[in-house]
């Protein structure tokens, strides 16, 4: 069983109907669970306080977000990463994002107080936000606030980021921190936003060797993804021996994603979630906090996150989705068939470059392990 953290207030983190980071994504996933006959019971978190936000973010930046949120005009807004097409300056954004941060922080508190081992925060994952800058749909960094709470309570944290984009904000905030290991698997920055996450980014000072990046080739299929995950992630976790695992479970590595190019299926995601739980059980006494993240195919993200809920709760993953769900959300499904939780097998025709992709990912994983070897002894 897992604790579920959610509140309809998450829906207020909304940049408008044309923006891909839509709260409809969680709503569809929750409704999918209901239509599968579940009655998800969730704890409604308190919003994060200003003091909570300031554990990670600069006060000057927080003041800018508050001003924007109150509808005031701020000079040179773009230098704070706000007022851009990706992260527009919308009124009410401060309480909206504090609701999400509050959820992830509530999850961290459940773990630090020993009141739960598995927690699923059904929102958040704003991994691009920097200490003093918004970026890539992310205003405050809920993950960093939660991780800071955990380390302040004496816990060593491994942060695992399976969003298709590099977890640059979390990495930057903890780049010199010896209590936080960050591991990000993502489509290579050579091809995808934010452009960073190369294998040579290893951390600095006491944090050296604890920031781990596995950049993957565009169109990487699930088989190759899971192979290099296995090559890198278990030994990395074993080397660091964290007490808590924090997982940003973006659903945008799915092949149907509108903004990226990896090629995982919902079956691959299910395998990945089960493997992460196994690793948590083996290494952190089962303590794991999952958040959501990117995911810009509503068709894929709603199913990936419904599967995440089922897997963390040790519930069976059924094949069939009742037709009523697809009818209800037809406008968001883009005419794609949504009769099953799993994708068709095969989900897409064979990739012409498949062998090249597989061997290139293996090579990058090997180079990464070589770069890390001096720190692991």
């Amino acid at each position: 069983m897992a604790e579920l953290i959610y509140t309809p207030a998450y829906g207020s983190y909304d940049f408008g109907p044309e923006h891909p980071f839509s709260p409809v994504r969680q709503q569809m996933a929750v409704d999918l669970l209901v239509s599968l006959g579940h009655r998800p019971h969730w704890t409604e978190p308190e919003p994060a306080t200003r003091a909570d936000i300031l554990t990670v973010h600069d006060e000057a930046y927080v003041a800018v977000v508050e001003a924007v949120s109150a509808g005031e005009s701020v000079p040179d807004l773009e230098s704070w990463g706000l007022g851009t097409p990706d992260t527009p300056a919308v009124p009410g954004i401060d309480p909206a994002v504090r609701a999400l941060v509050g959820g992830t922080l509530a999850g961290a508190r459940l773990l630090s107080e020993g009141r739960a081992t598995r927690v699923l925060q059904f929102g958040g994952g704003l991994h691009h936000a920097r200490a003093a800058r918004a970026a890539g749909f992310c205003v405050y960094n809920d993950l960093a606030v939660a991780i800071r709470h955990l380390t302040a309570n004496g816990l060593w944290v491994s942060y695992l980021d399976i969003d298709v984009h590099h977890g640059d904000g979390v990495q930057a905030i903890f780049y010199r921190d010896e209590r936080v290991q960050t591991i990000s698997l993502h489509e290579s920055g050579q091809y995808l936003y934010p452009g960073t996450g190369e294998i040579h980014e290893l951390g600095e000072g006491m944090g050296r060797g604890l920031k781990i990046n596995l950049p993957l080739e565009p169109f990487t299929p699930g088989e190759s993804y899971l192979e290099v995950f296995e090559q890198v992630v278990p030994p990395a976790l074993q080397a660091f021996r964290p007490q808590v695992l924090v997982v940003q479970a973006g659903a945008d590595a799915h092949f149907d994603d509108a903004l990226a190019d990896l090629a995982l299926t919902t079956q691959d995601y299910e395998r990945l979630f089960r493997r992460i739980l196994e690793l948590a059980d083996a290494l952190t006494g089962g303590r794991v906090l999952f958040t959501l993240g990117g995911g810009y195919s509503l068709h894929a993200a709603s199913r990936v996150w419904a599967i995440l809920y089922l897997v963390v709760n040790d519930l069976p993953v059924p094949e069939t989705i009742p037709p009523a769900w697809a009818e209800k959300w037809a406008a968001h499904l883009g005419g794609k068939p949504a009769a099953t939780l799993h994708d068709p097998s095969p989900a897409f025709p064979p990739l012409a470059r498949r062998d090249e992709i597989v061997s290139r990912n293996r090579l990058v994983a090997t180079r990464l392990l070589d770069a890390l070897a001096p720190y692991w002894f």
């Binding site: 891909p20 773009e78 851009t84 097409p85 990706d86 691009h128 970026a135 890539g136 749909f137 984009h165 640059d168 920055g189 050579q190 091809y191 995808l192 936003y193 934010p194 452009g195 960073t196 565009p218 169109f219 092949f255 509108a258 903004l259 990226a260 190019d261 090629a263 989900a347 897409f348 025709p349 990739l351 012409a352 470059r353």
Partner: protein, 209 residues
């Protein structure tokens, strides 16, 4: 980008009467390969690690001894650069002569040195990512207005271009690589294709084509 933007200003130098053995020690201790040779404050030559290798093998055409003098082994007169030279001029000179460094002279004064490593640093700066951004790669016709039309379309969408790199590709074509402050490069690529641009990246997904 000018030579003064990439050169190393704390230059380590040596005198013409120093021995090659001493040169070798300095190079190993400071982990460098090139030493400008100064005599009375004026640049008179350059000595490189290759010049002192003569002392380490009998196979060398011009063997030298550890007690040999810099004056007899150095390259002179040295090729030099000026701080206001464009970096590409320095690169072209070094490439043409296949040499590893250019001392930088402002008048008679040695003010810096540019090595191959500084040029690699410059390349990393030109191609690197210093702000979170998405990558866009296009093939443009090498005609007036192509890049202007492209950047105008990007500006219309309120996007900021962090960097542009272009290079010729065959005849009549230019490859342009842009870094743009958005995660949504796929929708942007679609819009640009709609406007008649040949977008190389993001590519169409193979299972959709």
């Amino acid at each position: 980008m000018l030579v003064r933007d990439i050169m190393t200003t704390a230059v380590i130098t040596i005198g013409p009467e120093a021995t090659l053995g001493h040169v070798c020690e300095v190079m190993q201790a400071r982990n460098i390969r090139h030493l400008p040779v100064l005599e009375g404050g004026r640049l008179v030559g350059v000595i490189t690690d290759r010049d002192v290798h003569g002392g380490s093998t009998k196979l060398c055409f011009t063997p030298s001894q550890p007690e040999g003098l810099v004056r007899d082994a150095m390259a002179h007169p040295p090729k030099t650069a000026h701080p206001l030279d464009p970096v590409e001029d320095a690169a072209r000179t070094m490439r043409a002569l296949k040499i590893g460094c250019l001392p930088v002279l402002d008048g008679e004064n040695l003010v810096g040195i540019v090595t191959g490593i500084d040029l690699l640093d410059a390349l990393l700066r030109l191609t690197g990512v210093d702000k979170a951004s998405g990558r866009l790669e296009l093939r443009l016709a090498d005609r007036p207005g192509g890049l202007a039309r492209l950047t105008a379309l990007i500006a219309e969408r309120q996007l900021n271009i962090h960097s542009i790199l272009t290079y010729p590709e065959g005849t009549g074509l230019v490859r342009a690589v842009l870094r743009v402050n958005t995660l949504e490069t796929r929708p942007l690529a679609e819009a640009l294709r709609g406007a008649g641009f040949e977008v190389m990246w993001p590519a169409e997904k193979p299972w959709r084509s």
